[in-house]
């Protein structure tokens, strides 16, 4: 056998892509979550692209600063303040999630649990806020087929996009709760890897990320 072939085989056996190794340096579980996120981003991307087409083709798209003015308990109109607060809450929950991952990698179960709890709390508040906002604009007369401010597609796309995002938040909360229970029962400690927490974390950050773009394109632009 040719000496070069032996050398090449040696090189292959040592390389990251030579088989028997994780070429990206991450386990398949984590990579699976990553590519799921890419796939999900395409769904949201398609929704937002469709929204963009409606937005530029319809005459008389309502001004969101005049629609989203409600804020509970203060009694004055505060355009966009409530949504900004929702964004703030979701970003904070993303922050506590990152801390939970960090704590779990240091094998600090109590701290990980505490931060997971805070994340779940943040997510739940976000959902409640969204319920309030939906309630409010439905109260103002918005439905899937019409709304008092302008073209019907405005409320239809609003309910569709925020609803689909809300479903993601909800499923994220369920996943987080399961993960927190597993942390509490020492599942990850027994397994010797807290990767599960990190994977759920990835999903949660993605939900936050989507909200950043929904907030920007739907509310601010």
């Amino acid at each position: 056998m040719n000496h070069d072939a032996v050398l090449e085989q040696k090189k292959i056996m040592e390389s990251e892509w030579g088989g028997g190794k994780a070429p990206f340096g991450v386990s398949w579980r984590k990579y699976m979550m990553w590519i799921f996120i890419v796939s999900d981003a395409f769904t949201f991307g398609a929704f937002l692209a469709a929204y963009g087409l409606f937005r530029v083709t319809s005459a008389g798209w309502p001004d969101t600063y005049e629609v989203f003015t409600a804020f509970p308990f203060i009694g004055v109109e505060a355009p966009m303040l409530f949504v900004a607060m929702m964004t703030f809450i979701l970003i904070c929950s993303s922050f506590t999630m990152a801390l939970a991952v960090s704590a779990s990698y240091k094998n600090d179960r109590t701290k990980a649990l505490k931060f997971l709890g805070l994340t779940i709390l943040g997510g739940s508040i976000f959902i409640l806020c969204q319920v309030y906002e939906w309630y409010h604009i439905i109260h103002d007369g918005a439905t899937m087929t019409s709304n008092p401010w302008g073209v019907p597609l405005f409320s239809a796309t609003f309910f569709m996009i925020t609803g689909f995002h809300g479903l993601h938040v909800l499923s994220g909360l369920i996943l987080l709760t399961i993960t927190a229970l597993k942390v509490k029962r020492g599942f990850y400690e027994r397994r010797g890897s807290y990767e599960g927490v990190e994977i759920v974390g990835l999903y949660w950050h993605f939900v936050d990320l989507v909200w950043v773009f929904v907030f920007t394109f739907f509310y601010l632009l």
């Binding site: 398949w28 769904t43 087929t145």
Partner: protein, 595 residues
């Protein structure tokens, strides 16, 4: 063995197998692949039956066919198929063939069956999700089948489900419950495909055995891997569209319904949506979907041709590069399905350019197949015949693709039988030949027995000649402007002249369809009574033929997974004892893998 492989092995050994866990809710990728195959075969028979109904109607419009009433009941009262159900049969034929036969029969079957065997893994990365993928697909099948039995009949807006026909429940009978079930079924199918794609991608990346670099993977694995990436990125866009269409149907939104629409005499109250948007979203998915189907067929074809021509595949790297190029281009050509939609001509010209570019990697593939065959020691096994037939069909269909990719010509030919001929050659028949080539080639691995070569060859010739007889005349009909999706060609003089040709095509369809019985008998007969297969009947060099038994159990290799030392298609090599060298052959490498 990587630690991930090791943990999987332990799981498998502790897994006790009952009948249910072995044949029904099996975690074994090989069983799941076979489940996909059998389901796809059943669907293929249904889809073929629908095409018979359509063809008989086109050849003998207005004549009473008693068997129609027996088989189709109220869809064909008095033995005459009703026009609205003709279009429903057409819709279901397209949907079934594209999703449930070709996608499931290629990506589902060969992706599951071959990926772990050919890259040297014990199973898919996540067997549970793999099992769920099949059963979600099964559920989608059941829902689609149910739509035949609802009061208003199955969906009738074409497999592309263009609104407003699909969005307005009152438009035609099929737009009601049938269309809703159609959308539900497709949504389930998307979920199933997502499960599959996630699994395929991580398995190929992370679970290859030692020495199996990406550049040593057989082309089938490459093709399925790339098809999985396409599925991962294209299906979610269709999901978004399907959700919007469901909202249009059931919550009266008007995403896809334009303003000022009349149904009957009544003006509908919808305000401004864009039916063109659905076309964009659908084809952004739809064009990659064509390649989700085609690429695995091309991969199987490449591998079978190299093995049975006893030559290394000509231009292995060029083949991979062309697969990647086709995959990338498939995402930026979707507009060529919409040239007549009133698209901005500038946007249209961009899509013409990208579409015609696809001819380059496609031609690279064709020339590489031909040069692989050139002066090869060709073994005409049935699998090889079907692979070579695929090359022929791919050329015929690909050439008409160049016609249709040009906006000025497409505007003439759009929605004529020319288009029907084009996609039946390049997508329908070529992909079907990929399935046949794969089944004939890997049947010994699937069931441990050989299929009859003689009957396989007879099946090939009848099918191959039949396909050309059916679809080639359609080109001529199309160029004179015979429109597709018509119930009968009895109204216009220029279409009436094709009465004889329609009859000819129908007879060819019936004979070609009947010839598939040969395959079915061969397939199911060989499963039980075929000659016992050797471990490596085709003398192939790839990893799946190195298992201990011809028909390996769950876990694939009894001992350790072998290490790989060479490329996948090393045939007619000068330094071997035989005319091929297995990928695992370590002669000359000393003891390097024991380190």
């Amino acid at each position: 063995m990587s630690s991930e492989q090791a943990s999987l092995h332990v799981d498998i050994e502790h897994h006790k197998e009952s009948f249910i866990s072995k044949y029904i809710f099996s975690y074994d990728h090989k069983m799941i692949g076979k489940q996909y195959m059998i389901t796809a075969l059943i669907w293929a028979l249904i889809g073929m039956g629908l095409s018979w109904v359509m063809r008989i109607q086109l050849a003998y419009p207005g004549q009473q066919i008693p068997i129609f009433e027996t088989l189709l009941g109220r869809y064909a009262e008095g033995g005459i198929l009703a026009p609205e159900y003709y279009i429903a049969m057409m819709t279901m034929h397209g949907t079934i063939m594209v999703f449930f036969v070709l996608t499931a029969g290629l990506v589902g079957t060969f992706g599951n069956f071959l990926i772990p065997l050919q890259i040297g893994a014990r199973d898919m990365a996540f067997p549970l999700i793999n099992m769920l993928s099949y059963w979600t697909f099964f559920l989608a099948s059941v829902v689609m089948l149910l739509s035949f039995f609802v009061e208003s009949g199955p969906a009738a807006a074409g497999w592309t489900a263009y609104p407003p026909l699909s969005a307005l429940s009152s438009a035609i009978p099929g737009s009601g419950a049938g269309q809703s079930l159609w959308l539900l079924s497709i949504a389930l199918f998307i979920v199933s495909s997502l499960f599959g794609s996630l699994n395929y991608i991580v398995t190929v990346l992370n679970l290859r055995t030692k020495g199996m670099t990406l550049g040593r993977m057989p082309l089938t694995v490459w093709a399925v891997f790339i098809a999985a990436i396409l599925g991962l990125l294209a299906f979610p866009v269709l999901l978004a569209g399907a959700i919007m269409l469901l909202l249009d149907k059931h919550l009266a939104t008007s995403f896809f319904i334009p303003a000022g629409l009349y149904v009957g005499d009544a003006l509908l109250s919808y305000e401004g949506g864009s039916p063109i948007l659905w076309q964009h979203i659908f084809w952004f998915f739809g064009h990659p979907e064509v390649y989700i189907v085609a690429l695995p067929a091309l991969g199987i074809c490449s591998e079978v041709i190299a093995t049975c021509a006893r030559k290394p595949l000509f231009g292995y790297k060029a083949m991979i590069a062309s697969l990647l190029a086709i995959a990338f281009l498939s995402f930026i050509v979707w507009g060529h399905h919409m040239f007549v939609s009133g698209m901005n001509p500038f946007l249209g010209s961009v899509f013409v350019l990208t579409t015609i570019l696809i001819a380059v990697p496609s031609a690279v593939k064709v020339f590489n197949w031909l040069t692989t065959l050139w002066r090869g020691k060709i073994h005409y096994t049935p699998g090889m015949l079907f692979a070579m037939g695929l090359v022929s069909l791919f050329i015929t269909g690909g050439l008409t693709g160049i016609f249709l990719g040009n906006a000025p010509i497409d505007i003439q030919l759009h929605d004529t039988y020319f288009v029907v001929a084009h996609f039946h050659f390049v997508m329908g028949a070529a992909a079907l030949f990929g399935i046949f080539a794969g089944i004939y080639h890997w049947f010994p691995k699937m069931y441990g027995r050989m299929m009859s070569n003689m009957w396989g060859r007879i099946h090939f010739w009848l099918t191959f000649v039949g396909i050309y007889l059916i679809f080639f005349p359609m080109h001529f009909m199309g160029t004179t402007g015979v429109p597709r999706r018509y119930y009968a060609f009895t109204e216009f003089e220029y279409t009436m002249q094709y009465g004889g040709m329609n009859e000819f095509i129908t007879i060819a369809t019936l004979i070609t369809g009947a010839a598939q019985v040969i395959f079915l008998v061969n397939f199911f007969g060989s499963m039980f009574f075929g000659k016992k297969a050797e471990t490596n009947p085709w003398k192939a060099a790839t990893l799946e033929w190195t298992t201990d038994d011809p028909m390996p159990g769950h876990g694939n290799w009894k001992g350790e997974i072998p290490t790989v030392y060479r490329g996948p298609h090393e045939y007619s090599t000068p330094d071997g004892k035989e005319d091929f060298i297995l990928q695992t052959d370590s002669t000359g490498f000393g003891k390097m893998d024991k380190e």
